[in-house]
Subunit: 167 residues, 2 copies
């Protein structure tokens, strides 16, 4: 866990540097991480310069009401799915006015896993001015480990996409 924490904290610092360099603001939309990404981003002094805030959308009603996620997509694809992750990311931007939105939805465990979506299943959505992308991961850790792995991956996803020509 110590190395994973260090990795996530370093990613949060790097995210700040990339956002400042590109003059962009960030918002978060978190389900399974429950606020951990926001906590990591705001560990960095000066983060109020680029982090506007976010929504912890633990209940589906909050995903719908505050992030504008489609009730039909929640029913059809489930809360832990690529379409919902993307809508959460876009919803974070719409709700806060940020240019970049990162969203995570997954099953941290130990409860909640199914045959098709086992514990550790995570989707990470990213909305940027250049376009949107979604990432799928399947972690093999416990609840705390899965949350930290998701947070680190989400922060690294921001760095990757904003630093690349992929979009």
């Amino acid at each position: 866990m110590y190395e994973l924490r260090q990795r996530a904290e370093a990613a949060a610092v790097a995210v700040g540097q990339v956002l400042v360099a590109q003059g962009l603001t960030l918002a978060t939309a978190e389900s399974c991480t429950g606020g951990l990404i926001g906590h990591l981003v705001t560990q960095v002094s000066g983060s109020s310069g680029y982090y506007l805030g976010g929504i912890i959308a633990y209940a589906n009603s909050v995903k719908e009401g505050l992030l504008g996620v489609s009730a039909q997509d929640l029913a059809t694809h489930g809360a832990v799915s690529a379409p919902v992750a993307l809508q959460m990311a876009r919803g974070a931007c719409a709700a806060t006015g940020a240019e970049v939105g990162v969203a995570v939805t997954g099953i941290a465990g130990p409860l909640g896993g199914t045959a098709t979506k086992p514990v550790g299943t995570v989707y990470i959505g990213l909305a940027t001015p250049q376009g949107d992308e979604v990432l799928h991961r399947l972690w093999q850790s416990d609840r705390e480990g899965n949350k930290w792995l998701t947070a680190a991956a989400a922060l690294e996803f921001i760095i990757d996409l904003l630093s690349s020509e992929r979009l």
Copy 2:
């Protein structure tokens, strides 16, 4: 830090027990803690049964737009004040439909302190079906310590008020 983390994690477990015992749901509104309270609450397996989610209101525009905090009170009292903490707590309930709302606003440091509101100044607001209360604290730690002290105090405030006859 280790003992403080243990204390905060234990408080998150106890908050869950009190909420389940009383059949209440919880929402969070976090400024200076940036999501740490939500992270701690969702470290507890089964927290989706009572935690609906919350708003990380780092920018004042998010305090106004998503939590309904009065722009005039932000200008008159400042973001770090008792009226704003209370409005954030009530706003968390209104935005999510939760019965209990806990909110924190403060200056984690090292930047942002003033003569009247030094680094470590924190207001914790709590909205419950029985009424609302606000707590003022002045921590003497660094940024990380001030965030963890605030999160632990906010969780313990929920336990205190819901377990007492004070309201």
